[in-house]
């Protein structure tokens, strides 16, 4: 396989001068490698990729975001190698305007969601599904063709930031919304998914908590409920109605505890907003984003017992973990929530699975442990974490579409 000389020159120039390889701040390309097998070579045909070189049995390619999706669609495993070709001198840290750097505050997110709706009115509609205790709107963005109509299509739900300090959990679902909206016209794979489904994304379930985390105390977790004993906050991810308050191991009855479950199930307006959205739709799959630990968790969380769909949940979860790993080699554990992380009761995914039986996952985003950042991620990790999760997100949408299509012929299926 030949190396394209102009590309090689650009690469060498970039490495030599420390200049960024690609321009365009929104969608930078990546250098990836794929196995040099005959199957992979066949799959690459017709994709019109910028092939860079072949080394140690792997083919190196300059790939844009659309190329990555096409490779995923053709089931070609790839590894992002951009880091190996990083500029010799690290670039200076950018001083962002906001106090939370490149992360979204409530107002920034509100503005970006509105911009997304304005820029793509035919496929994006912003909904206010409720208001927080302090009066901030809780937004959910719907992405679909004929977005103003409630069509008979598979619905998928992505949620972020139940826990205030998990800033990365806002970014990943938001970037999914942006990717779907901006890729709709250009990427046939995205268009097909959007046309055949209704994708709902609520990136910020806990806006009050996020604002407190940004402005006062970075490690704040709960919402901003003023509890009767003078303490603050209810853990929103212990406030849902399935097995709520089952025991004091999976949540706490103490208002000052980090996992305080509230005075009753759905006592908080934020969880009620999610409940109303969920019950009004016909969702076939859901992911709730959290951090940290790099794991994909599925029900049950309230006890270490399998659901009656354990094989399905595990198989789909492992498949998504595999897709994530192919992007940059980062491994996500996959397992039942109670045994893989810890026992939780009253969390979102137990509730969504408990009331509808749909595949429901908690994604614990990077880093893997507290020593490597805990609830902190460097600003320049945001895009990479999103990219590694994108194939899994799209896979879940695809699954919901397949399930929806099959449900008519298969009454014994999920629904």
């Amino acid at each position: 396989m030949k190396i394209r000389k102009p590309v090689l020159w650009v690469l060498l120039l970039s490495v030599g001068t420390g200049l960024p390889l690609f321009s365009g701040p929104e969608e930078p390309g990546e250098i990836i490698s794929v196995p040099g097998t005959a199957d992979a070579r066949r799959a690459l045909r017709g994709l019109d990729l910028d092939l860079l070189m072949e080394q140690d049995g792997r083919i190196f390619i300059v790939a844009g975001p659309d190329d990555l999706l096409r490779l995923s669609a053709r089931r070609v495993p790839f590894v992002v190698e951009t880091g190996r070709f990083a500029p010799a001198q690290p670039s200076e840290i950018r001083l962002a305007g906001g106090i939370n750097g490149a992360y979204h505050s409530y107002k920034e997110l509100e503005a970006d969601l509105k911009s997304l709706e304005t820029a793509h009115p035919s496929i994006v509609k912003l909904h206010t599904i409720g208001a927080s205790l302090e009066g901030r709107n809780i937004y959910a963005i719907k992405i679909s063709d004929n977005v103003d109509r409630d069509e008979e299509e598979a619905e998928v739900l992505f949620l972020g930031c139940h826990h205030a300090r998990e800033w990365i959990s806002v970014e990943v679902p938001f970037l999914l919304a942006r990717r779907l909206a901006e890729g709709y016209e250009e990427d046939p794979a995205i268009k097909e998914l959007v046309d055949r489904s209704e994708i709902w994304i609520a990136p910020l379930v806990n806006p009050d908590g996020l604002e407190y985390s940004i402005n006062v105390y970075r490690y704040w977790r709960k919402n901003r409920r003023a509890n009767a004993d003078g303490t603050f906050g209810v853990d929103l991810n212990r406030n849902y109605g399935y097995m709520w308050g089952r025991d004091d191991q999976g949540s706490s009855a103490a208002p000052d505890a980090e996992d305080y479950r509230g005075v009753s199930a759905f006592s908080e307006p934020e969880t009620r907003a999610v409940r109303e959205l969920f019950l009004a739709g016909n969702f076939l799959a859901a992911i709730s984003y959290h951090s940290y630990s790099q794991s994909i968790l599925y029900p049950w969380g309230f006890a270490d017992v399998p659901t009656d769909k354990d094989d399905l949940l595990r198989g789909l979860g492992l498949e998504m973990a595999g897709l994530i790993e192919t992007v940059n080699g980062r491994s996500y554990a996959c397992g039942r929530a109670a045994s893989t992380l810890y026992v939780t009761n009253g969390d979102l995914t137990d509730w969504t699975f408990g009331v509808t039986g749909i595949p429901s996952y908690t994604f614990e985003l990077p880093p893997v442990d507290i020593r490597h950042g805990g609830f902190f991620n460097a600003e320049d990790e945001i895009e990479g974490i999103f990219r590694e999760n994108l194939p899994a997100m799209l896979r879940l949408v695809e699954f919901a579409i397949q399930d929806f299509a099959g449900s008519a012929d298969n009454p014994s299926g999920l629904h």
């Binding site: 001083l95 962002a96 906001g98 106090i99 006062v216 105390y217 970075r218 950042g373």
Partner: protein, 416 residues
Amino acid sequence: MSKLVPFPAACLVPFLLLFFPCQARPQLVLGQYEDEAPVRTWNTLGVELAPSLACGGARTATAWDASSALVNPALLCGLPKLTVTASGSRTSASMFRYSILNTGVLSARENFTEGFYALDFGGLSFRTGDWAFALSAALLESYGRPPLDYRLNSQAGLVYSIETAQSGDLRNFNLSAARRLSRRLAAGLGVNVVSGRLERTVSENFVADGITIDDRKSQDFKGLYMSAGLSLLLSERISLAVAVRTPYAKRSDSRSLLEYRVPAAGTDIRIPASSKDEYRQPWAAGAGASWRPAEDLKVSADVWFFKWSSYSAVYFGEEKERDFSDVLRLGAGLEYISAYRLFGRAIRSPLRVGISYDPQPMKAPRSAYAYITFGTGVAFGRVRVDFAGAIGKESGSGRSLSARRGALTLTYVIGD
């Protein structure tokens, strides 16, 4: 040709010092206050030196020294030919809720009370013909808060700690001119430049994992506003005055650094930020009256309106919610001058008492301070020494907050 009157150069020393106003121990108080809230009151109006503090803060129609220029520059025409003033104070207040205290992270059952000493005013005024001028430096606001230091220990030693600190102040540099327009009427105008700084840190340490989280924010303030006023002598015994302070933008150069470090794991995550921010300070207008029912007795009263509903705070690029309503601040005081001889020298000694009512702008909780004020002093020859105290109790927050201020003012006077 008028004769120039010499005065001791030593009088300038405290004045010069005050161009570097400092707090002996920056810290403080107050309950329902945001980070940018000044200590004790939002309703900053110049600085209360001992004579005006003792008279319930009523100083729109009554002047004692060059600090009048910050409230009503027209009063400069009523001052002696030359005044040089230096003043120090101690301010304290109690607070229940601020930063991470009683907002969810650290809890306390009782109010936290702290105070600070400050050399908070230095200025001079002089009068020539129908004109009068003043130049001064003042410590206008303090943003200090009581530092918090929580440590959790186990038998093996320190497990966890969290510390917070906030300090800062705003200084005011004033240049004013006033002119007597007629025998009864005077007008004045002042230019005020403000400059200050606010720093806040929260540091957290998880000892077992070797994790340190630091959140540091700093803001450098600058601003410019005008003060203006009219003074009308209705009769030999009664004078009226009105004054206004223009709205202004307190601009801020804001910087922030959030850092997460685990040296053993090579983790050092930094989120830096910078911003040009702005706090839109409201305009304020006031009216005052002064009545001298007897030669040795004077009554002064003030009412000031603060347009807090127009206040806005932009912090790191985002406008913050500040649900404020307009405020009327009231103050009144009485001054009785006794004269006697001590060691053969003529001494005059004022006795002052007053009251004031100082509502705060927050709509929730509604909160207001009621003050009792008092003071005395001695005047011998060209020197005046005044002392004053103010004791305030708050109502509305449910926390029975308190605020106190004491002031000691030294004034050197030449001419009538």
